[in-house]
Each structure stands twice: as structure tokens, then as C-alpha cells.
């Protein structure tokens, strides 16, 4: 795919900037969709009365279909007009998003998410060509496209959590529709202005950059853990509201956006950036596996490590995967396929691990609760009352972290014993948080292992300094 800007009128700078901005927004929205519903999953689960594994498909369906159709969508862009492909993708994505917003059942929601991914794939790969064509400099265009993707992926869960808290999970989809539609006039205006280089397509498209794409896939699998597992730990394990969880996980996107300005001056090269990024992501995930308490502040430093790693490695690896390779859209499609295949692999590996660990955490949690209740300085009759109530709560929420507050609300405690009952309630909540935090440890460590695996392809990369 080549760019022929000779026949287009010299766009005013503001018009070009506006085009790049709206196309980047489209890319960010589509790639943000990979994780945007993460914080909404508990609410979707309640709304549809579904099981955790079923609801996980709301995430998996989008990422799986995006991984599968990214390369075919890129071929469509290469063979036709990327502007038309992008415009079609925007319309398809907006239509599917509308269905998501009004989905009457989990099945419809999952199907619409799959359709979203098909439209989204066209938006992403088509926008790569359009952004590069509009910017006029290949490396700068690719970097903007990659940065939009990183920003979308990192901000997705945060925005989704805030919208779920403020309105409902359906608001996540409602908000996306006008934003992505902004890209439609920009795409239509580019029609016929990006001319395909037919010879390259038909004869010898460059082979995909295996090492960079493999590293991207492994890091994406690890990053899934960072966002998906962390928000689940905060909301389900530590009983934080989606809004608080969303604000807490902003540390990742903030650090990711800061990584460029902080480290770009070093000009260490693609391999160094990818290696450092993998180490930072693996270290941050290990930090999340070794949390010393259930206070949000303990998650911040590991999140900053993950964010810095994300900012350093993903756009560097994406640029490496695209550098000097044509057709560009096809190689952009490969990077998207690799990243989202990584997300799916991450979800498929990690979801059973942490759900099994959550089930296994039940026994130590029950024993800790029994110990505290038995040893509490309360009358035996109060303890028996409480044990009965706690038993009901534990049975009602089997397989999930129970909310013990109703057990204490229903408890009739003589006034002199109220401080002891309050201390017991705090103690029991602490034990539940300890059990939940412990239950996520293995999944975080496995995710850290995936990030460390990315070191192998990263170390094998040919190093080229950034200009």
C-alpha cells in the first residue's frame, strides 16, 4: 500500500490535525473496547443472571473475533480503498454498538460484540493508512496510530468503570457511538486519495515480523491480567465500587502516557525498549501478586511499573513490526491480530486459574472466619446467632466473595457488646480481603511469567535506535 498525496489539495494544518484526531479517536475507541466492559462485568452478570464464565465471553468474543478478522480486514484495505473500508467499518461498528447498548440477553450482547469486532477491525487497519497518509511521514503516522491504540487499551477499563458507576453498563456503548461516528466524514473525505500499490500486494507482500508480533502477543496476554484481574480484585475481592476501581486503575494509562516523554530521550532502541518494557510489566504483575495489604495505595507502584512497561514496549514493538514493511495495513492487521490473540490467550489461561483459586480460597476464608467468631469476646448466644447468619451469607454467595454486612445488620447485640461486634465485623472483612487477594496471586504470577516469556523474542529483535 502506498500513499499518493499528489492529487489532493494542500489541506490546511487544522483540517489535517482534525482528521488525525478523529481517526485516532476511532482507533482508541475500538481498541479500548477490548477491555472497556471489564469493570461492568459484575453488573452485566447481575442483569442477565449469568455465570462468570458466560460473562467472560463478552470480553473474549470481541478480542477473539478481532484477532481472527484483523488480517482479512487488512487485505480488504490493501485490495480496495482504505477510506471506504474505514467508513464501512465505522458504520458496522456503530450499528453493532447500538445493538450492544440495547441487548435484551447475554447471547445477543455476545453476538453484537463479535459484530463490533468485525467493524472495528476495518476501522483500525483502514485508519492506519489514512493517518499515515494525512500525517505525510510514515514513522510519525505509525507512531500516532500505535499511541492511539495504547491510550485506548489503557483507558478503556477506566472509562468503562466510570460510565458503569455513573449510569449503567449500557452507557459504555451509548457513548462510543457518536465518538466513532466522528471518523466517518473524515474517512469519506479521504476516498480515492490513498492509492494502493497493486504490484506489492499481488506479488510479494513482506512477511510479518514474527518476533515483534510474538512479543506483542505475550505482553498483551500479560497486560490483560493487569487490567482484567486487577479490576476484578478491586471490585469483587475488596468490595470497591466500580468508580473507585476505575480511578484506582488510572495509574496504568497515566504511566503509559508518561513513558514516552520520560524515556524517549534515552533513545535506547527498539530491543532495549521492548526488553525494559517486558521487565517492567513482569515486575509490576509480581508486585500485584505480592500485595502487603488491601489498601488501594499498595496497587499504585506496581501499576506504574506496568504502565511504564506498556508505554515503552507496545508502541515500540508495533513500530518495529511495521517498519519498512508493505503493505502497511496488512502488517498493522498482523499486530492487531497478535495483540488480541494474546488477550484471548491471557483470558483463557488466567480465568480458570483465578476462578479455581477463588473456590479454593473458600476453605481458608471459612476457617479464618470460624476462628475469629469462636474467639470473639461475645456471649455464646450472640456467636451462635451470628454463625447462623454468616452461614446463610456464605451459602447464598458460594463461589463469590460474600458480603457479610447483612449478617451483622440482622444481629441483635446488647449495647455493651457493640464495640466487640464491630471489631469482629472489621476482622472478618479483613480475612475475606486476605483470602481474595491470596486467590489472585497465582494468576498474577502466571501473567508475570507471560511477560517474562516476551523477553525471548524481545532480546532477539534487531536493535534500531529511534530517531
Amino acid at each position: 500500500m502506498g500513499t499518493d498525496r499528489s492529487d489532493q489539495p494542500a489541506n490546511p494544518l487544522t483540517a489535517r490535525t482534525a482528521t488525525v484526531v478523529v481517526l485516532s479517536l476511532g482507533v482508541a475507541v475500538v481498541l479500548g473496547d477490548a477491555g472497556v466492559v471489564t469493570l461492568a462485568l459484575p453488573e452485566i452478570l447481575r442483569d442477565f443472571g449469568a455465570q462468570v464464565w458466560g460473562v467472560a465471553w463478552v470480553l473474549i468474543a470481541f478480542n477473539l473475533v478481532l484477532a481472527l478478522v484483523a488480517v482479512p480486514a487488512a487485505r480488504v484495505c490493501v485490495r480496495g480503498d482504505p477510506a471506504v473500508a474505514t467508513a464501512s467499518g465505522v458504520i458496522g461498528f456503530a450499528a453493532a454498538t447500538t445493538v450492544c447498548a440495547v441487548a435484551p440477553s447475554l447471547g445477543v450482547l455476545i453476538a453484537a460484540r463479535a459484530a463490533q469486532a468485525v467493524g472495528g477491525a476495518l476501522v483500525i487497519v483502514g485508519s492506519l493508512e489514512l493517518i499515515v497518509a494525512t500525517v505525510g511521514v510514515e514513522r510519525a503516522g505509525v507512531r500516532r496510530w500505535a499511541a492511539a491504540g495504547v491510550a485506548g487499551a489503557a483507558l478503556g477499563p477506566v472509562v468503562g468503570g466510570l460510565l458503569t458507576s455513573a449510569f449503567s453498563w449500557r452507557a459504555i456503548f451509548v457513548v462510543q457511538i457518536p465518538i466513532v461516528l466522528l471518523a466517518l466524514p473524515a474517512a469519506i473525505a479521504q476516498r480515492g486519495r490513498v492509492v494502493p500499490r497493486q504490484a506489492n500486494v499481488d506479488m510479494s507482500p513482506d512477511r510479518p515480523h514474527v518476533l515483534a508480533n510474538l512479543a506483542l502477543a505475550l505482553l498483551s496476554a500479560a497486560l490483560t491480567a493487569a487490567l482484567f484481574l486487577l479490576v476484578l480484585l478491586l471490585v469483587d475481592g475488596w468490595s470497591r465500587s466500580p468508580a473507585v476501581a476505575a480511578l484506582a486503575v488510572t495509574a496504568v494509562p497515566v504511566a503509559a502516557l508518561a513513558a514516552g516523554p520520560v524515556f524517549r530521550g534515552v533513545r535506547a532502541g527498539t530491543r532495549s525498549e521492548a526488553v525494559a518494557g517486558s521487565v517492567l510489566i513482569a515486575g509490576g504483575l509480581t508486585g500485584l501478586a505480592l500485595l502487603p495489604g488491601a489498601e488501594l495505595v499498595w496497587t499504585l507502584a506496581p501499576q506504574v511499573l506496568i504502565g511504564l512497561g506498556l508505554g515503552l514496549s507496545v508502541d515500540s514493538l508495533t513500530a518495529a513490526a511495521l517498519r519498512d514493511r508493505i503493505p502497511r495495513a496488512l502488517h498493522g492487521g498482523w499486530t492487531i491480530a497478535a495483540r488480541h490473540a494474546g488477550v484471548v490467550v491471557g483470558l483463557v489461561i488466567l480465568t480458570p486459574i483465578f476462578t479455581a483459586d477463588l473456590r479454593h480460597a473458600q476453605t481458608p476464608a471459612e476457617e479464618a472466619i470460624a476462628r475469629l467468631v469462636l474467639d470473639a469476646p461475645l456471649p455464646a448466644s450472640t456467636k451462635l446467632d451470628l454463625a447462623e447468619q454468616l452461614g446463610r451469607r456464605l451459602s447464598a454467595e458460594r463461589g463469590r466473595v460474600p458480603d457479610l454486612r447483612p449478617a451483622f445488620t440482622a444481629l441483635r447485640v446488647p449495647t455493651p457488646q457493640k464495640p466487640a461486634a464491630a471489631a469482629l465485623e472489621r476482622g472478618l472483612e479483613d480475612q475475606l480481603k486476605r483470602a481474595a487477594t491470596r486467590a489472585f496471586r497465582t494468576a498474577f504470577l502466571v501473567a508475570a511469567g507471560l511477560a517474562l516469556l516476551a523477553l525471548a523474542p524481545a532480546l532477539a529483535l534487531r536493535d534500531r535506535s529511534r530517531s
Binding site: F263, P292, W298, L305, L372, A380, L384, D463
Partner: protein, 197 residues
Amino acid sequence: MRRLALPLIAVVLVTAVLGVQIAAGGGHYVPLRPANPCEPRPVPPIAPQLEPLAEQIVLLGLDSAACRLGISRERLVLALAQTRTLDPHQSAALKAGLLDAVDRLERQGRLPKVSQLLPQALDQANLPGIVKTIIEAIPDSVIDNLLPTAPLLHQTVNELDINRLLHQLNDPSQLNSVLQSAILQAALRQILDRLRP
């Protein structure tokens, strides 16, 4: 050198963060583990009333029974709460545990005298007023000589229907009355045994 700078910075940052977390107890933030039931736990002061005494005997008894069964006290309690029935082996272990608890409190001089427990027991007992008045008129020393606490509690435990007791766990007030009635019956039997020629 420039190529090594970023990986080195990354390693330093990761080491610093993990170092702080491990120093603050990272890796040890886990639920409280059940105590070893075979290690005797300290006994707090016991108010000379039936409920605190019964509670302490049950807590110590659970430890001893769990030790005999080779499980934790907490696991035993959770199993009892779930099944509400015991096989003969568990029932025997529980009774033996309760008897161990009485013996331990007796050895430590922590058992209150029966005369100290009597007023509360009489208040709650379903006895005719005249009988209560007569019992109250008996001097404490006579009662304590006639009914030493440890043998009385031994007899209570031996005659206790553990499975029936477990079924009362849903209703703490009923549980108290079952316990009191068991103690009163044991007391009556002890008195009759003493009075027999």
C-alpha cells in the same frame, strides 16, 4: 551503554518496588490459619455463670476433640454446622473432649462452685416456687459439699445427647434451656446418688 540503560533502569525500579512490598509483608497477606488444636490455648477468666462456663467448656472441648480427630477446631465446627449429625466416632471424640475440658478447668481451679451457679439456674428453671425457696434456703457449703462441680459436669456431659444438642444450634435460647435442664438433671441424679444408703 545506552542500550543497557533502559533495562537497567527497569530492573532497579522493579527491585525497589518489590523490595518495599516484601519488607511491608507482601507474600504474607493471607487469611488467619487455624491454631493447632493440640496446643493448649490460654483460658480467660470465667464469670461464675452457666453461659460463660458452658462456652469455655465447649471451646476447650472442641480443641481436644479436634486434636483427637486430627483436624482443626475450625474445620470441626464448620463440619458440625453443615451436617448437624455426628457419627459414633465423632460423638465419642466430642464427649471425650468436653470431659478433658472439665478436667483441665478443674486442675487449674477455674471451675466455679455450684452454689455460685445455682441462683441463675434456679431463676431460669421451670420449678415450683416452693421448691426454689427450699433450695435457696440450703446453705452454700452444704450444696458445694453435696455437689462438687467437676463430677456434676462430668455426669452432665456423659448424659448429654450430642446430636440433639446440635439440632438446637439454630435457636440459642433453646440451647441454653437444654444445657440447663441437662445440668439440673445431672445435679438431681448426683443428689439422689449421695442420699442413697
